[in-house]
């Protein structure tokens, strides 16, 4: 459904996409994971026919995004990052306008059906300007689903929503992804893991990893960071932890704490605790500190060339 081959996009001298290649099959939910500025939005804009690539080709729903842009746009539903809504229209008017622009038969019926799908039919005649962020997101989603597209591209669909709305939108994506190709971007790792069949990790315009959520999780879990705090001075603590097998990247965090990582598949926390206590320190706490996305990327980019974990 989506085939991307060596896609390159330059903004002036800056290379935003550096030869990206991937594909997505029908009925597959593919997550696009990466920090801000990684090239997620640029890729999506190319796939939806918004902007042409500098080089490379992309085939969406069987059509070339440059040569047959209009055919692609007919078959793709797209929710940009800034949800494109007209505040002076009601939800129904907005969807009717989009349905007419897409030349759907029975524009009004189609608008109603789609409003029901995103559970907004009760607010159909309210102005979008008065909607909450979550409702706006759902109107945006409705717009992307209006023409029952074969390919759905969603740019950060859960950003800025409250937890309940996030759950709602995620289940909606899973629902629509059953028989369609969904490509969505996020910078939340757990979100990608929950929804996707496959995750593409993109950083600095390059795909640095491509895997199922399960495999990715084990790779990332292998890099779990632990913070260990003692009462009093932590002088010399890092040396003791370093001596325990299965720890790495030991670093002094502050006067009373040290951070370290557990090597993949080796949970040596009991051994560490034992060694620390035996050395005469008073152990106060030991807890995992979630790795930031940046660190995970560093981790994955470092691992990539050798293909094995250190």
């Amino acid at each position: 459904m989506i085939q991307v081959n060596g896609l390159i996009k330059d903004y002036g001298a800056r290379r935003a996409l550096d030869s990206i290649t991937f594909d997505a099959r029908q009925g597959e939910i593919v997550g696009f994971l990466g920090p801000n500025g990684a090239g997620k939005t640029t890729t999506m804009r190319i796939l939806t026919g918004y902007m042409p690539p500098t080089a490379g080709e992309a085939i969406v729903a069987g059509y070339d995004v440059v040569e047959e842009s209009l055919e692609v746009r007919k078959r793709v539903g797209y929710l940009p990052e800034t949800v494109p809504l007209y505040n002076d229209m009601t939800a129904l008017e907005y969807l009717k306008f989009m349905a007419e622009l897409r030349r759907l038969p029975n524009a009004e019926d189609r608008a109603w059906e789609t409003l029901e799908l995103v559970d907004l039919d009760e607010r159909a005649n309210s102005y979008i300007g008065n909607f909450s962020k979550g409702m706006r997101q759902r109107v945006g989603l409705a717009q992307a689903l209006l023409h029952r597209p074969e390919v759905i591209i969603l740019d950060e669909p859960t950003i800025g929503l409250d937890p309940a709305q996030v759950v709602e939108v995620r289940s909606l994506i899973r629902e629509i992804g059953k028989d369609r190709t969904v490509l969505f971007s996020t910078h939340i790792l757990s979100e990608a893991q929950q929804i996707c069949d496959r995750v593409l990790i993109i950083n600095k315009g390059k795909i640095v990893a491509e895997d199922t959520p399960e495999n990715l999780q084990s790779r990332v879990l292998g890099a779990e960071r632990i913070l260990l705090r003692v009462r009093g001075d932590a002088d010399g603590l890092d040396r003791i932890i370093k001596e325990v097998k299965g720890t790495r990247k030991v670093a002094v965090k502050d006067e009373t704490a040290v951070e370290f990582e557990l090597s993949a598949g080796q949970d040596v926390r009991p051994q560490v605790a034992k060694a620390v206590v035996e050395a005469g320190y008073e152990l106060l706490e030991m807890r995992p500190v979630g790795m930031s996305l940046e660190e995970i990327f560093l981790e994955l980019t470092e691992e990539k060339p050798g293909g094995k974990r250190s």
């Binding site: 918004y50 800034t82 494109p84 007209y86 002076d88 306008f97 007419e100």
Partner: protein, 249 residues
């Protein structure tokens, strides 16, 4: 064609919830209305004193196009710039419509608004005609309306193009205003100073010379029509190019 119409219809509806459009309508209709009343009053007074002369439509048409120079930028400034600012341009540019359909649709929406105002102004010649025996010269009225429509179409097309170049509607407004003032007043100046063929070029480029003493006086010159039509085409073409440029940014 249907896509153009869908865009135009939305744009037209938009004007009726926009304060700017009401201000423009108010100013244009009030000014031409007062002028109409004075005009009528003046000639009826004269008629009683046997000075002769009949009221005609020319001053009203002239004022209308003059007011357009100042007010058309307000009607076009947000057409595309506001879509860019709100992010809805991304929606339109990923919808299955062509860039020129978007630009023509926007322009047509603004045209429909001006046409609505023009329909209201039809009251003036109709009323005037009932006061005069055997009625006013309708050919002059017809060519005046043709002229007003053409001038409006030029202004709105050029304004749409400028709007496509900026993401800020205030910037778009002032750039458009400067462009219109140049085309309507400034560009004709060299014709008064220099002599020879090049003077005629500036005279031809002057927008008002194709209206005053021509279309507003019942005279249809092919060169005037061609002049206006080519400016309309230029505006719509530039607007489309500007939208396309946005895709590359």
């Amino acid at each position: 064609m249907r896509n153009i119409w869908t865009i135009a219809k939305r744009e037209y509806d938009q004007y009726f919830i926009s304060p700017v459009a009401y201000v423009v309508a108010f100013v244009i209709l009030l000014t031409t209305g007062v002028l109409f009343a004075i005009n009528l009053f003046y000639y009826t007074q004269n008629a009683f004193q046997a000075f002769g002369g009949t009221p005609d439509f020319t001053p009203i048409a002239g004022t209308f196009v003059f007011l357009l120079v100042l007010s058309a930028p307000a009607l076009t400034m947000r057409l595309i710039s506001d879509e860019a600012r709100m992010g809805t341009l991304e929606l339109l540019l990923t919808a299955p419509i062509r860039d020129y359909e978007l630009v023509i649709g926007k322009w047509l929406g603004a045209m429909l608004y001006i046409l609505s105002l023009l329909i209201i102004t039809l009251v003036y010649p109709i009323v005037t005609s009932r006061f005069v025996t055997p009625g006013i010269d309708w050919n002059v009225v017809l060519t005046s309306y043709l002229g007003m429509i053409l001038v409006a179409a030029v202004f709105l097309a050029l304004g749409t193009a400028v709007s496509a170049m900026f993401a800020n509607q205030v910037t778009a407004f002032f750039v458009t205003l400067a462009l219109f003032i140049t085309l309507w007043w400034l560009i004709g100046f060299p014709a008064n100073v220099i002599v020879g063929e090049s003077a005629r070029l500036f005279e031809y480029l002057d927008m008002k010379t194709h209206f005053y003493g021509a279309l507003d006086s019942g005279i249809i010159n092919l060169s005037d029509i061609v002049y206006y039509l080519s400016l309309i085409a230029l505006g719509l073409f530039t607007g489309t190019a500007a939208v396309e440029m946005r895709r590359w940014k």
